[in-house]
Subunit: 330 residues, 2 copies
């Protein structure tokens, strides 16, 4: 039910103006400082560095769909830089809202892995760079909401049963109540898609990193428990309705000749539910996860090595999904 765990840290350089006041030369200094630091600590051998000009479309959108950069990073006028680790578990944005924002992703619920790797990277970078830090407040950030730990600890959870039983709002309200943020699959401001939700801390000040992680973990465990109960309830009382939804979704994915990104995402999420409930065994979770990324517009064009308009994408997307699922079956 927990798709992934993500830890994000925001850092700024002590000797360069923050984003709001930084000019092109300042931004350039941040990029080159970071590039040099990443080189020094051995990161560039294990991953790839992108200069500003290498972040143009369609790569920008493609990175966004893979959750390696933020929407703000794509739209900022600042001179940017991006580092992406070999397995895409680590990515580091330069000159987004802060000088440096880096994230570490881990599969499932695993803050030990995600925060562990983030802390190591943070320490290595700090060995090369002077961070803006206040003994009173902690790490200084462009926006006061990130001040202190500058840590965002989040989990991506798949809660289709709670959506089906209409308990999701009540359950998520509990998370909001204790000060956590809840978002749909594609980040802030976007509607929920495919019943994926991101739960993260909002407060970064007045709590230690481990307290933040503990809170998110605890809420995540509760959500898992609620989702588990909802699934049991569905399988006991509404099994046919669930099977109907699940097998229709699989059938449409295998039959459609036109699929929008949004419909494909929702159908794949329902198939995912079918797999975890043991109703579907002709497709694996890994395959569904892979397709869920591939059906996004930019990634689709990259994998097909083609520039396509909306209608062409919907058609090629349907073909890709259909052929993948039919191939898996035979």
């Amino acid at each position: 039910m927990v798709v992934s765990t993500r830890v994000r840290l925001a850092r700024n350089l002590a000797d360069v103006p923050f984003a709001a006041k930084a000019g092109p030369a300042d931004q350039e200094r941040v990029v080159s400082s970071l590039r040099w630091a990443l080189q020094e600590i051995g990161c560039l051998e294990q991953g790839r560095f992108f200069d500003d000009e290498q972040l143009a479309e369609p790569r920008g959108s493609c990175l966004l769909e893979r959750h390696l950069v933020s929407p703000d990073f794509l739209s900022t006028k600042a001179r940017r830089g991006l580092y992406v680790g070999e397995d895409e578990a680590v990515s580091l944005m330069i000159n987004e809202e802060d000088h440096v924002r880096f994230q570490v992703l881990a599969s499932g619920l695993d803050f030990a892995e995600a925060f562990g790797r983030a802390a190591v990277l943070d320490e290595k970078l700090e060995s090369q760079l002077a961070y803006a830090f206040s003994p009173e407040f902690g790490f200084l950030t462009a926006c006061p909401t990130n001040l202190g730990t500058a840590l965002r600890a989040s989990v991506m959870v798949h809660l289709p049963a709670l959506v089906m039983t209409r308990e999701i709002e009540k359950v998520l309200r509990g998370a909001l109540h204790i000060g956590l943020a809840v978002r749909g699959l594609f980040g802030e401001g976007t509607e929920t898609r495919g019943n994926y939700f991101q739960i993260s801390n909002q407060r970064t000040l007045g709590q230690s990193e481990s307290e933040i992680i503990e809170t998110v973990t605890e809420v995540c465990r509760q959500l898992i428990e609620y989702e588990r109960k909802a699934r049991e309830y569905l399988m006991r009382n509404l099994r046919t309705e669930v099977e109907d939804k699940v097998f229709r979704s699989l059938a449409i994915l295998k039959g459609a000749r036109i699929l929008t990104s949004s419909e494909a995402t929702n159908l794949l999420a329902t198939v995912r539910l079918g797999i975890v409930l043991g109703l579907i065994n002709e497709v694996t979770l890994a395959e569904v996860n892979r397709l869920t990324v591939l059906v996004r517009p930019a990634n689709l064009q990259v994998v097909l090595a083609a520039t396509l308009d909306g209608a062409e994408r919907d058609e090629r997307r349907a073909t890709l999904v259909r052929e993948t699922l039919v191939r898996l079956r035979s």
Copy 2:
């Protein structure tokens, strides 16, 4: 595109009060006169006669879904009788709105067959019974709208392409304009389902039988031509959209665990379009036609030999359709 042709004649006995004034004894006399006449002309050997008590549920609804009786026939308080020919091409209702109403069905556009058989039956009955007839008006009927020929000549046409191109309203308005009636699949007052339409004459007075049939035939031929053009247009300009609709429908029929009668009818109608356009070959038209009848609530219960509530029907219907289509494929 023309599913069937239907000819219906209304007749009344000269020496018995019409329905509005007929008491139970009168009604009984009509039933026994007709039964006797049908016996005399050899019909009872080739078909089946149902007394009023044999027309209770679920048989009544089942006959209605097979278009062998009318909704009015099911709800009338009068003492009824029904004759159904061996192949269900002929059926004769006793004490519906008129003393006798009988219909003959033929496949495709074939008034020669339908009207030919109806005329023969009419003549044979007239050899045994005295019809209420006026030299001035023609056959007398309970409702003046049927006076004269008392003939309703109708065709059931399947016009999915005209529905998809949104030309259907304009096209059918042409039929209304020249005085024809247009109905959806399940008779008067019901909404159109599955893009099937029934076209029939409204006037019965002042035109001969052959003039009526000629008008309906002519309009039917025009509709066929419009539908053919719409199909060509779709296949030339919107082939992917049509394929999407057609293959989704087939996929849902093969995947769903719950199917309402209305959804099944619509999906089957779209599959039918896929067959006639040459897109689908794993199912035959005959099989789609057979399923289209079987998915109706009463017929479903008869074929499954079970009395089922709505939810059970939707589930068993989905199973029946799925297993039929999957079996056909392998």
